[in-house]
């Protein structure tokens, strides 16, 4: 039986939930694997040796997570970056736009805080300078992108790994699996999602919504555009480009440069899920 470990580092456990969203298929998969370490599902406190496949959810935000990651690598044959936080940093990566002290000062000085400015410092791991994907620290064998990945993709990749085959990720972009119709027109202006009601069945980007589908890896089934909301890039970049944010910035600017410059919060939009893996991965003074 294949020995599996699964952990959440700087994540939210959403990838664990996506794994459980295999629902009835779990009953087919679980008897063929042995879960030997999984703090969210079982009480085993020490990471055992000889793990075949370790699924790591979450990136690295503190020294304890960094330490655990190295231990995981030493004890596992294959390490999988499970989900976008592990692979690219994810939403917590937005923290890279601030210095650590700045970030902690805001968290512990909110209007609701009684003892403003007291910052916890005992018994808790120190934060790292910035959030980083796990591949910045250890060799990562496979990626399962997505925030969260779809249960179908998890099953596909996991089955391939267990069978000793090379798992394949979707090579195309979200647009390729999006049912909304393109009319080959450029947006006249860029709109915020509340500013208008999208015309049903028509490409959101062409209507002026800042959809990131044209640079984002396929695999989600274009769930956001199908629900009337522009893609935010949660599956990260494709293999063909270096930097998702740069790729999309290029597309937006090529379509309408004057209007593209007016898009608010370009950093937080273009690098929403992938800042720690971007060519420039933090705020530079």
């Amino acid at each position: 039986m294949v020995k599996i470990g699964i952990i959440q580092l700087c994540g939210c456990s959403g990838c664990h939930m996506a794994f459980l969203d295999l629902h009835d298929k779990l009953l087919e998969i679980l008897p063929n694997i042995e879960i030997v370490y999984a703090p969210i599902l079982a009480d085993i406190k020490e990471i055992p040796d000889g793990i075949d496949v370790f699924l790591v959810e979450g990136g690295i935000r503190n020294e304890h997570e960094e330490h655990l990651l190295h231990e995981i690598r030493e004890k596992s044959k294959k390490v999988v970056a499970f989900g976008t936080c592990a692979a690219y940093g994810g939403i917590p990566g937005l923290g890279n736009l601030y210095e650590v002290n700045e970030l902690l000062n805001v968290v512990y000085s909110t209007d609701s805080t009684n003892n403003k400015g007291d910052i916890p410092c005992e018994e808790i791991p120190k934060l790292t300078d910035i959030v980083k994907p796990i591949s910045d620290f250890v060799k990562v064998d496979y990626l399962i992108p997505g925030c969260p990945p779809t249960p179908e993709l998890i099953e596909k990749v996991l089955t391939a790994i267990i069978e000793g085959k090379e798992p394949e990720l979707p090579k195309k972009i979200v647009c390729d699996e999006c049912p909304l119709k393109k009319e080959e027109v450029f947006p006249k202006k860029y709109k915020r999602s509340y500013e208008d009601k999208p015309i049903e069945g028509i490409c959101l980007f062409e209507q002026g919504y800042t959809c990131l589908g044209s640079g984002t890896r396929a695999g989600c089934g274009a769930k956001c555009p199908r629900a009337g909301m522009p893609c935010r890039g949660c599956f990260g970049k494709t293999d063909a480009v270096l930097d998702l944010g740069a790729k999309i910035a290029n597309t937006f600017a090529n379509a309408n440069i004057e209007e593209a410059l007016k898009i608010p919060d370009k950093i937080g939009l273009l690098n929403r899920f992938t800042l720690p893996a971007a060519l420039i991965n933090r705020k530079i003074k």
């Binding site: 939210c12 805080t113 018994e123 915020r192």
Partner: protein
């Protein structure tokens, strides 16, 4: 003076440890819960377009992402003084209920039940959902069905089963199709049956462990819950604090939260301790959840 550290705390979402400080005789002197992670949402939502916040904050927790999605979109509705159409409010409420169905099935069957059904002394390797599936596959099939149904509701109303996206200021970006409604209606009777059976399972195990129920974690706290004209509600209403003895009740609007809710920073914990401001910290520490919801209701 010794110290026992239990880490990681398991079968919960998040990162934490329990520190038990011992006195010179080796007896517990102080117990501290330490949440060992912080990400800084309070900082990194600042300055972003408001309508993007509901697409960021669900990542606070992958189990209960829907309340974070909806709380943030409701806050923007309110800040922008928007009244949303009734169907949108109903769809958002349904999204929340779907999440509650998943989250309850998860908490009870996937996380807590292995202790009760396999016994607290079973080895950790067995005392989990995989062990439970081997011991009682029928029960786990029902647990899976409950979760699947809850997640399907969120998928239909929220656009994605995990980290929904449809809540936008002013309403919701996706309507429910008739076939989606019929799909849910087709299953609902069976799901109600499973939920009823689950309540019986919970009652059974609670009775079995009644001695523990009466002594473990019994503390006096304030209670906080959401009400609509005195009746318990989930999605929208007024808030009520109730004192530990049940005599004092204080109603307030969500918009007034800063006047009523404070947060205390403690040195060993990245999480702050919320408390009822007028009672101060630590006297005003309160609990939420089912017990509080029922206690505060008329």
């Amino acid at each position: 003076m010794g110290k026992i550290c239990i880490e990681p705390i398991s079968r919960v979402e998040g990162h934490g440890k329990v520190i038990i400080v011992l006195d010179e005789n080796g007896k517990p002197k102080e117990v501290k819960l330490s949440i060992t992670a912080v990400r800084g949402f309070e900082q990194f939502v600042v300055g972003r377009p408001a309508e993007e916040v509901p697409r960021i904050v669900p990542r606070i927790c992958g189990i209960c992402q829907v309340p974070h999605h909806l709380a943030s979109v409701k806050a923007i509705d309110d800040a922008w003084n928007v009244k949303i159409p009734k169907p949108a409010a109903k769809l958002r409420e349904l999204m929340l209920l779907g999440n509650i169905i998943h989250s309850h099935a998860l908490h009870f069957y996937f996380l807590a039940a292995p202790d009760f059904i396999l016994g607290v002394n079973a080895a950790p390797e067995i005392r989990n959902i995989v062990g439970l599936a081997k011991e009682n596959p029928d029960l786990v099939k029902k647990a899976i069905a409950l979760r699947r149904f809850g997640q399907r509701i969120v998928d239909i109303t929220g656009g994605k089963p995990i980290h929904p996206i449809t809540g936008i200021p002013g309403g919701i970006s996706k309507s429910m199709k008739e076939e989606e409604r019929d799909e849910l209606l087709k299953e609902i009777d069976k799901i109600i049956e499973y939920a009823t059976e689950s309540v019986n399972v919970v009652k059974e195990v609670t009775n079995k462990f009644m001695d523990k129920v009466k002594e473990l974690g019994v503390i006096d706290t304030w209670y906080l819950g959401l009400l609509n004209e005195g009746k318990h509600t989930f999605y929208d209403g007024t808030l009520r604090f109730m004192s530990p003895d049940g005599n004092e009740k204080i109603d307030f609007a969500p918009q007034e939260y800063l006047d009523y809710i404070g947060e205390q920073v403690v040195p060993y914990n990245y999480s702050k301790y919320p408390f009822y401001k007028k009672a101060g910290f630590p006297d005003g520490v309160y609990r939420v959840g089912p017990l509080a919801m029922l206690n505060v209701a008329d």
